[in-house]
Amino acid sequence: MSKIFQISQVEEGMVLAEPILNKLGQVLLGANVTLSKKHLNFFKIWNIDYVSIVSDEEEINDIEFSSDEYELAIAKLARRFSWTPRNILEEELLEIGLYTELDKIRKMKEGIN
């Protein structure tokens, strides 16, 4: 599992979950590298703001939901979204909506407010 971190939160010893690429798609630093102080300094030079780090924490897209739960989340989302996405970024907004509804279902199951 992985989690997005802002560069200021990244510490030595964390492991990169995904490679860091430059604008041309060339690999600057590969996945599974354990970060050292030298790497953190490189991030500043390369103007990197966020990286994906290997994490034990469960994020919403790591949790498994039943098909009934997915259907319920989609039905709730459909009541709030009356428009169709026009590009990839708007599709991602829809996915954020789905994660939100699934999170609510998860919290109800766990009895969290």
Binding site: Q6, Q9, D49, W83, R86, L89, E92, L93, T100
Partner: protein
């Protein structure tokens, strides 16, 4: 029930002014002879603001690697304008306490929404690589200042409008215009003038809901527009389970994000909102 425009405008006179710390900072910063120590002195005299400012600056969302221990360091690292923007943010958030004292149940929800939009605007600004992301944070703080005004001065009436919009699925914007003769954006613009806010913040207040200004996209307004939509999607709004408006398509001319960055930041949005709200508590 409709309220006369004269009543609205005279109520505007009763709406609180910004604390003197902000106007002193504005005066000091606009003086080219002011030093870092001059500016720091003004902030340090207000202990409550100093404590909150340092907590905010040291929070993960502000991305400063080394711990900032005093106001002078904060000014060196962030610059005069960014520190001034943070003080403005904290000053405005103080006003929520005044509105909350009047017993409005929607004030806390508005406060959460405001923090969410401020936090998300900053993250979106960081995604674009802007240098002044604290400007994006304060833009989120001011974007719904008109709603705070309505809750502060017309608590019962505005709360009933919110409830009517939920029960009857009506546009709150339309209800504001019918009842007050103007929407939150217009009254917010008048507040911005009363407070002598910079033009970019006034523009955010007036145009972030439509997403463009003078028919064109603007980077800051686009970020706040999108941040507001993301907050609604994540149910961080004063209306529960809000309907999500379609973004103004022109914002995508300015917000040229990489694929997957928005959805991959869902947890970051959540964690950052939690972090910001813990620091800036609506405490009495």
């Amino acid at each position: 029930m409709a309220i006369k425009i004269d009543t609205i405008l005279s109520s505007l006179n009763d709406f609180p002014t910004l604390p003197t710390i902000y106007s002193k900072l504005m005066t000091s910063i606009s003086n080219p002879r002011s030093t870092v120590n001059d500016v720091a002195e003004i902030i340090i005299k207000d202990q409550a603001t100093t404590v909150k400012l340092l907590k905010l600056v040291n929070s993960p969302i502000f991305g400063i690697r080394n711990r900032v221990n005093n106001v002078t360091q904060a000014i060196f690292l962030l610059g005069f304008n960014e520190v001034k923007n943070l003080v403005l943010s904290l000053s405005i958030l103080e006003l929520f306490k005044n509105a909350d004292d009047k017993g409005s149940k929607y004030t806390i929800a508005l406060w959460k929404h405001t923090i969410a939009v401020a936090t998300f605007s900053k993250i979106l600004g960081n995604n674009l690589g802007v240098k002044d992301s604290e400007n994006y944070f304060v833009s989120g703080i001011v974007h719904d200042i008109g709603v705070l005004f309505f809750l502060y001065k017309f608590n019962d009436l505005y709360s009933s409008l919110i409830e009517k919009s939920i029960e009857q699925n009506l546009s709150l914007d339309d209800l504001e215009k019918e009842t007050f003769g103007m929407s939150r954006n217009v009254i917010g613009g008048l507040i911005a003038e009363k407070w002598k806010l910079p033009i970019n913040l006034k523009n955010v207040i007036q145009y972030a809901n439509i997403g463009i200004i003078d028919g064109k996209a603007d980077e800051l307004i686009s970020c706040v527009h999108l941040a507001d939509i993301i907050a609604k999607i994540m149910d961080l709004h004063y209306i529960p389970n809000p309907v999500v408006p379609i973004p103004n398509f022109q914002i995508w001319n300015k917000l040229t994000f990489d694929k997957n960055i928005l959805k991959n930041q869902y947890q970051l949005f959540l964690d950052s909102f939690q972090s910001s709200s813990n620091i800036i508590k609506l405490a009495k």
